[in-house]
Amino acid sequence: MRAPAVRTQELSVWYGQSQALHSVTITVPRGAVYAVLGPSGCGKSTLLRAINKLVLLREGARVEGLVEVLGVDIYRDSSAEGVLSRVSMVFQTPNPFPHLSIYDNVAIGPRLRGMAKGKELDDLVRWALEKAALWDEVKDRLKSPASSLSGGQQQRLCIARALATMPELLLMDEPTANLDPVNAAKIEELIKELSREVTIILVTHDAEQARRLASTGVLLFMGRVVSEGPISSILSRSYSSIIQSLVASARRQQAA
């Protein structure tokens, strides 16, 4: 039995005095599309960033508990860097490096790792852009700056950039939140395709998107796990009614 893609145990994250995650325990099976659901501010982005250690970039960040990625304890094991190089991330607002060309944006990951050079690199870039369903639109202008692309194209470029390093785990932080419906649909298609080869953790506030794309997931509220498991059981009722009752019980607790 292979280790799960990600396993956390009693994971807590503080930013200075305020606690963003409380004893979160989840398991992300390999090959799944795993959704992280919840209203804004519930800690979804923090959870994602705890998985690739980006959380440590923030001021006063502190992490307690266990995070195992592809079987490696990334906060304690010295081989953490090696395993994290097999993890890639796509962000909510497309962030291709604006001054670099389309080609260089995709190539940056492989170049840093020395994965390929010359013709091999060209092939790799092409492969990544094809996987991200962007190749046909940019194949004639690979040298143009990334800033010349539209928002939807830029996000697909970011996906290509993330794929170029051949990751085993892909972290996606609300990748369609800032896109129009047409582009969002394109990216959802992409995610379905990619899920056959890569484990994907998808943070989303859109319950329907989770139903469409994910097999399992976790529902977070105020930094705590509410429920984890198959999507159908997390979203047994309508999402809005779930959130309503969570908010109501939180208010009751505060009043008490």
Partner: protein, 297 residues
């Protein structure tokens, strides 16, 4: 009533600026009429008490550009390196210390730098035997190199504040993206510096403008000699050090005052041009970052 106050202040300021340009132009008209372009191209500097004499500032002009370029290179190299260190490698406390030191350094009068250059750097250059590397190496250690080094140091706090501000202004999401790609410190710096290259260029231009106009430090450390410095450890004159050292003779030599005014006009033009260009470029701080919301295909 108040408007009159404010407007007349504005008019006075305009008058002052006009006075500067006009005075210099009028004073230099004499020598420019006499010598024309050879004022700038000739290296002959021969004052005369009886007749007009001949004044050519080619040598100081070249040295001015050399000192300016060298000082700017030093300031830029130090600044970029320091900014990269502060942002990618340095722990928080060190950042604060260096920031305070930089601030204190920026406040020091140039004459303090000049004194230090004369008493510390020049002897160092002399004792390190660097002068002997040059044909007409300076016996005192005062040289183009010494001047450029001290001016470069003086310029560093300002240059690094320009670059640092731009580096800070890069949106956090790009930093996250670089980390998620596994980029190490120097790899991140390479990408980020590429994003702020306009500010680096602006810092270079602004520094050059200031270096060209700098008098006090240069006068104390350059050795005041009419020399074409093919080698940096030789003494020389820049236009500003020339003006500083020669003005006293203006009463003796009839043509000298006009020559110095013309030299000053040249200095003003050079400084104004580079500074204006630098400020324009510095306007666009980070290259190509466009904030866009949901866009269409």
């Amino acid at each position: 009533m108040i408007y009159l106050c404010v407007a007349s202040a504005a008019i006075t300021v305009i008058a002052i600026a006009a006075a500067i340009v006009l005075t210099l132009s009028i004073e230099s008209s004499e020598i420019l009429a006499r010598e024309g372009l050879s004022f700038v191209l000739s290296s002959r500097w021969s004052p005369s008490e009886e007749d007009y004499g001949f004044y050519g500032i080619a040598l100081p002009l070249v040295s001015t550009l050399v000192v300016g370029a060298l000082a700017t290179a030093i300031a830029l190299a130090l600044s970029v390196a320091a900014v990269v260190y502060l942002h990618e490698y340095a722990p928080r406390q060190i950042r604060e210390v260096i920031s305070a030191a930089s601030f204190a350094m920026a406040a020091l009068p140039t004459v303090v730098f000049g004194m230090w250059g004369l008493s510390t750097v020049a002897p160092l250059v002399r004792e390190a035997g660097l002068s002997s590397l040059c044909a007409r190496g300076s016996p005192t250690g005062q040289s183009v190199f010494t001047a450029a080094l001290v001016v470069g140091l003086m310029l560093t706090p300002y240059a690094s504040s320009v670059v640092s501000a731009a580096y800070d202004a890069v949106p956090f999401t790009y930093i996250e993206a670089l980390h998620s790609l596994g980029a190490l410190g120097f790899e991140r710096a390479r990408v980020l510096l590429g994003m702020v290259k306009r500010s680096v260029a602006a810092a270079a231009l602004l520094s050059f403008g200031r270096a060209v106009g700098e008098t006090t430090i240069v006068a104390l450390t350059i050795g005041s000699a009419f020399n074409l410095p093919l080698c940096p450890f030789e003494p020389a004159h820049t236009i500003s050090s020339l003006i500083a050292s020669q003005y006293g003779n203006a009463f003796l030599y009839p043509g000298l005052a006009s020559a110095l005014s013309a030299a000053a006009l040249l200095l003003l033009a050079a400084s104004a041009a580079t500074t204006a260009l630098g400020t324009r470029i510095a306007g666009a701080v980070v290259t190509g970052v466009v904030r866009h919301e949901s866009e269409e295909h």
